[in-house]
Symmetry: C2
Subunit: 331 residues, 2 copies
DNA sequence: TTGAAAGCGCTAACAC
DNA sequence: GTGTTAGCGCTTTCAA
């Protein structure tokens, strides 16, 4: 049984100073590479710091220099979803270049939890907040800290946002299928309460309207939220007396569900999916692609500008989409 | 034109106290729900806090109460890689339950960068460090803070680690292919300098040795680090005068590269891949699967125990693997 | 029940 | 070049 360990505290700057035989401030100057320290003194201080295994206490520094941290918070859905992790990857890379650190938290697609996470991050004095809203709750940014919304604009307030060209992408998917002669086209969409899904549905139906096609309307399915349900929905659609000849799925999860349902079937309807993903090429899947990582990088850059003092009006950046034909949308 | 904005500092506890007409300490007690505060006083303090939009400054609290933060750092490769993001997802979920926050940083698979990131996190006084080592560098944990290694054990020191049963998984893949009569089996592996790859290669060759098979040896390819190269390597293998009849790829990236190379070919060798991934089922791919998210959760739990004061000897947990036959490994 | 004083580890401002 | 003093916003003594 080891004796009660005294809770070993890391060495402090004054301990380093004492050991080097200089004052606190001199030690500070030496380690921070400030001018007006003689070479010899600097050497001694550095040596003392090494011997003690001294590490700067960032908390204390940050408290002193302005009571804000070097942290930027990202609130999103589960990182296991490749969309969120791609965004996180872009964000992290951009932050790291500026010496900022990324704190990631999962909102579990739950608006209340999301609000409490905002509180927690604000208490930690994050320098900025990046949010992919759960869609349910509204993140009120009454905290006076820079906030950039990703993929979904905030409800009821104007703020910096980075969005995908949802309407445009869905529009081009619709046109692509129409141009190949499809009329009975099914639309399988996620929760309509999110603005991004809403825009995709709108873009799609606008294209149908322009083409004077109403045959698709019986095949609209919304609020399909996971891959398994998407698979069921697609199976049901194909079991109809007059099944659709083409499908458009409005995000990667739903597309994957559709692919599972289509697997091994004799009749393969045309399929276009919103969001590109790994292996879509191997599967010969036609997709509406966009640079998800760039979505994150852009948001991070906007946040960094705000941190840097930019005070212009809120901006909205729209990331374009591209249709990548790989076979499934051309049959 | 608004006048020069004074840099608005968030309200402090003493401002709240002043407004409520109580002392600093009383305000602190009231907001922290400590005993010995009269109900009326508490109400007044809470009201004052609300009116001012007061948020606790976690930096100051943490500095005062022990100079450590509520942060846990995770150092890994790019989150765009589903393996890392699955681990991160498991870690985050576990931390959040304990009120801890996850800071994720990307080591860019670069040992030197990794060391500097450790420094940065230690300076922020993270409570624990979770590391998926880049393989190149050695993370020396001379910092006296809890550290758990994930997927790859640290070189040259004993420490808490959570590993996948790499050797066992590779062994079962080899047996699976041998049992189906394959002899010329190609092994496409990633950087051998990482312990996990080393273990997979060892497990595979041990099984071959047991079976008395040496025919596979000309088909060993290592240090294949990305999907594109993996594709090239597979194409080369299949172009040999005596091509292998089966392939084993030692991680998801390489498997995906192999799939791309195999696409549209007449002759389809058997294929087993280490790591399961989304859509592997749709592709009919036989894999060595393991619970990647659990890898992260387990590591987080071990770190939390250390934070909680556990001082036992370092432990190593091995996460088991399962072979999931889906067709590609059975042809 | 409440308050005053001290101090966490550091840096800013000003002396020497 | 170097040291002294003060104070970031909070919690922890200890006294009232």
């Amino acid at each position: 049984m080891p004796a009660e360990e005294p809770p070993v505290r890391p060495p402090t700057l004054s301990q380093v100073a004492a050991r080097a035989g200089v004052s606190l401030k001199t030690a500070s100057r030496a380690l921070n590479g400030e001018p007006y320290v003689s070479g010899a003194t600097e050497q001694r201080v550095r040596a003392a710091a090494d011997e003690l295994g001294y590490r700067l206490n960032g908390l204390a520094r940050e408290l002193r220099t302005g009571a804000t941290s070097a942290l930027v918070g990202l609130i999103s859905g589960d990182l296991a979803n490749p969309f969120y992790s791609a965004v996180a990857s872009g964000v992290e890379r951009e932050l790291r270049r500026r010496g900022l650190l990324l704190v990631t938290v999962n909102n579990d697609e739950n608006g209340e939890l999301e609000s409490s996470l905002v509180e927690a991050l604000v208490e930690r004095r994050v320098r900025a907040l990046l949010v992919i809203p759960s869609g349910g709750g509204i993140v009120a940014n009454s905290h006076n800290i820079p906030c950039v919304f990703i993929d979904r604009p905030p409800v009821g307030l104007v703020a910096d946002s980075v969005l995908i060209d949802n309407a445009g992408g869905a529009h081009s998917a619709a046109e692509h299928l129409l141009a190949r002669g499809h009329r009975r086209i099914a639309l399988v969409a996620d929760l309509v309460r999110t603005a991004s899904q809403q825009a995709r549905i709108n873009g799609f139906s606008a294209a149908m309207r322009s083409a004077g096609n109403v045959d698709w309307e019986p095949y609209l399915r919304t609020d399909v939220h996971d891959a398994a349900t998407a698979g069921d929905v697609v199976s049901e659609l194909l079991a109809l007396p007059e099944p659709p000849t083409a499908l458009f799925t409005t995000n990667n999860r739903l597309t994957i569900g559709a692919l599972r349902a289509l697997r091994g079937r004799r009749f393969q309807p045309a399929l276009v999916g919103f969001d590109d993903f790994e292996l879509a090429d191997v599967l010969g899947l036609t997709v509406i692609s966009h640079d998800t990582t760039e979505l994150g990088s852009m948001a991070a850059r906007m946040a960094i500008e705000r941190i840097g003092g930019y005070t212009g009006p809120p901006r909205t950046v729209v990331i374009p989409t591209t249709l990548i034909p790989r076979g499934s949308g051309e049959r």
